[in-house]
């Protein structure tokens, strides 16, 4: 029997991986088909990996119709073929990456606990149980890990705050409401290595004395839902979740909850409201969720990538982790390269890669073959960067210095056909669609902003409308209650600043 791997990741499925897998099963006697997550090399999905003496030899992209020919040419022996990529881990896309959080994604069967253990799984949890609560929190503080969801708040500080609260019920809430366009790292982790998220949550529970965790998953991720549900059940069965985690007499269990299509629920207080079964309207801070969070109890709210990185920090040690990265951005960041690029996918590296290196060295330039004119970093609330800023390193402070933000690490490229006025209008419209309605600057400002930008596009009072947009942005920035209204001006202002020509000389009626 020859072991052949085909991904069941949603991105691979969207490119036809299921049909490829079925064709392999139908055509190849002697195949042991295994399913993995995606390695994030989406430009070569569906990827077929054959276990050979040389390692896992990959072919890609393999459409279902390519399978019979490949089998004839000796696919199962790893034979030569135009689609042959060689041993996958020696591929240049991976050799320059530093995969810590994503070390197992694409390599293992996501729901095989033995696979997880063989690849270093639960080492972090064992260490946390050995060193105990306070030392675990300190380890995370020392690692310099900051929240990968977008806000980049130091994870260890959050945990310390929860630990300091008076005795009583505490919660761990995993924010899996990955709504930013251009991002898919949470999804890849949940589908490709769900036990790492679960392990991170258990460690957080051990660290701050929480016995219950919730995962708030967006409804747009049905595949992640299935994998997580199965993984939670498997972890419970194996004694990693429940009344007695690994015989430690510490209790911890996880409940998976589904969102219902509201972008705002990725904002932590809105997510807590939603978890409690209410409208996802944001809460005024203070109190912080770490003091008064889910059901009024102290709550650690962390993103999927953050939690899945915690086991690495514990297993390898804080120093080993903080040795990656630069300045105040320590460790690695899974960058998601998306939109109009030739080679899109996931690149995990120590902080510091420049936008240009990501776009061209990894991405190979635009998919359309036209010049890349703009990139949006950090989702729909992130700034647009012009080509002159492409040498900025992808790290928190360097991006903040140019009025941009790294957010959740999504980088979306646009070629020179993009109309930046249209993108600015869309940013306001998206904010209007997704505003929770609680505060006026966001609720009204976004509607009026979209309207004014529409008028500019039609050549109606452009100067007055541009001034109005600038004023609305200012109000939203400074007076909104949360990041939605408070950051929606970023894409608008950056578009106006760097691509001003797109906002002028619009002909009436166009």
């Amino acid at each position: 029997m020859v072991t052949v791997w085909v991904s069941r990741d949603a991105g691979a499925l969207a490119l036809g991986a299921e049909a490829t897998a079925q064709q392999l099963l139908a055509g190849g006697a002697g195949i042991r088909l295994r399913r993995n997550g995606s390695r994030g090399i989406y430009w070569l999905e569906p990827l077929v990996e054959v276990e050979c003496a040389a390692g896992r030899v990959a072919y890609g992209p393999v459409a279902a119709r390519d399978v019979p020919g490949l089998l004839n040419k000796g696919l199962l022996q790893g034979a030569a073929h135009p689609l042959r990529l060689g041993p996958i881990e020696a591929h240049s896309w991976f050799t320059s990456q530093q995969r810590l959080t994503f070390a197992r994604v694409g390599r293992i069967d996501p729901l095989d606990l033995d696979d997880y253990l063989e690849h270093g799984g639960f080492r972090g949890l064992r260490r946390a149980l050995e060193i105990g609560s306070l030392a675990t929190v300190n380890e995370v503080v020392e690692s310099g890990l900051r929240g990968r969801g977008g806000a980049a708040f130091p994870t260890g500080l959050k945990w310390q705050t929860v630990l300091k609260q008076p005795e009583g019920q505490r919660y761990i809430a995993c924010n899996a409401d990955e709504g930013d366009s251009g991002t898919f790292s949470d999804r890849m982790l949940m589908e490709g290595d769900p036990f790492s998220v679960i392990e991170g949550m258990i460690i957080a529970g051990v660290a701050v004395g929480a016995t219950r965790g919730y995962i708030y998953l967006r409804v747009e991720y049905p595949h992640a839902f299935q994998v997580l549900n199965a993984a939670i059940a498997a972890a419970r069965k194996a004694g990693y979740l429940g009344a007695d985690v690994c015989g430690s007499r510490i209790a911890f269990d996880i409940e998976l909850r589904l969102g219902a299509g509201a972008y705002i629920c990725g904002e932590e207080t809105s997510m807590l409201e939603s978890l409690e079964g209410r409208r996802g309207e944001i809460r005024v801070r203070p109190p912080l969720p770490a003091e008064k969070g889910l059901f009024g109890a102290p709550t650690v709210v962390n993103n999927v990538v953050t939690l899945a990185t915690v086991p690495v920090v514990l297993a390898e040690g804080a120093t080993a982790y903080r040795d990656f990265g630069q300045a105040k951005s320590r460790g690695t960041i899974p960058l998601q390269l998306a939109g109009n690029v030739l080679r899109g996918g996931l690149v995990e590296r120590a902080f510091g890669l420049t936008v240009r290196e990501l776009l061209y060295d990894y991405g190979g330039g635009s998919a359309s073959g036209r010049p890349i004119r703009a990139v949006q970093i950090g989702g729909p609330l992130g700034a647009y960067l012009p080509e002159s800023q492409f040498d900025t390193p992808l790290e928190y402070e360097a991006l903040a210095a140019i009025g941009a933000m790294l957010g959740h690490g999504g980088v979306v490229a646009f070629d020179d056909t993009v109309d930046m006025l249209e993108m600015a209008r869309y940013a306001m419209e998206f904010c209007a669609i997704e505003s929770c309605g609680k505060c006026t600057p966001c609720r009204i400002g976004s509607v009026r902003g979209a309207e004014a930008l529409r008028n500019i596009a039609r050549g109606i009072n452009p100067e007055a409308n541009l001034a109005l947009v600038a004023e609305l942005c200012d109000t939203m920035l400074h007076a909104s209650l949360c990041g939605l209204g408070g950051m929606a001006p970023f894409p608008v202002q950056s578009a106006m600043k760097h691509f001003g020509g797109d906002f002028r000389q619009r002909t009436p009626g166009s």
């Binding site: 949603a10 209410r278 998206f430």
Partner: protein, 167 residues
Amino acid sequence: MKQSAAPKPLSQAQHDEILAIVARHGKQAGPLIEILHEVQRSLGCVPAEAVPVIANALNLSRAEVHGVVTFYHYFRGAPHGRQVVRLCRAEACQSMNGVALAKHAMKRLGIGFGETTPDGAVTLEAVYCLGLCACSPAAMIDQELFGRLTPERLDELIRRDNEKVST
């Protein structure tokens, strides 16, 4: 949420089903959204008539339940068409001709986003990111995902599934 045009009372079976769903979530903390998901899975939507039943069973006001149902884009007041095309309209997909694809879909189906064709065959919905941004433009058609969509491919997928339904 889209309101059903002609409200009709719940059947006894639907009524009982809703109460059974609420009872199943009895021990859960903050269960309302979980209950709404299950009601929608079971009845195909969350009909307005279900709101007082759920409110009563959970000891909430009708306004509270109505407020939650209408806050979330995913909950619908009327069942969708036989096929649901959820087209991503977010930035990454826009950068790869997503806007043209959306216009094509509306023209091809003769409906706007959030609408269902008069024969009840297809519902067209906007979605803001499916996490398939490295293979834009993307869509979820029923439960199946598609990346690098073209207008031609979208036509095939719509036609294929409609034929499947009509045979």
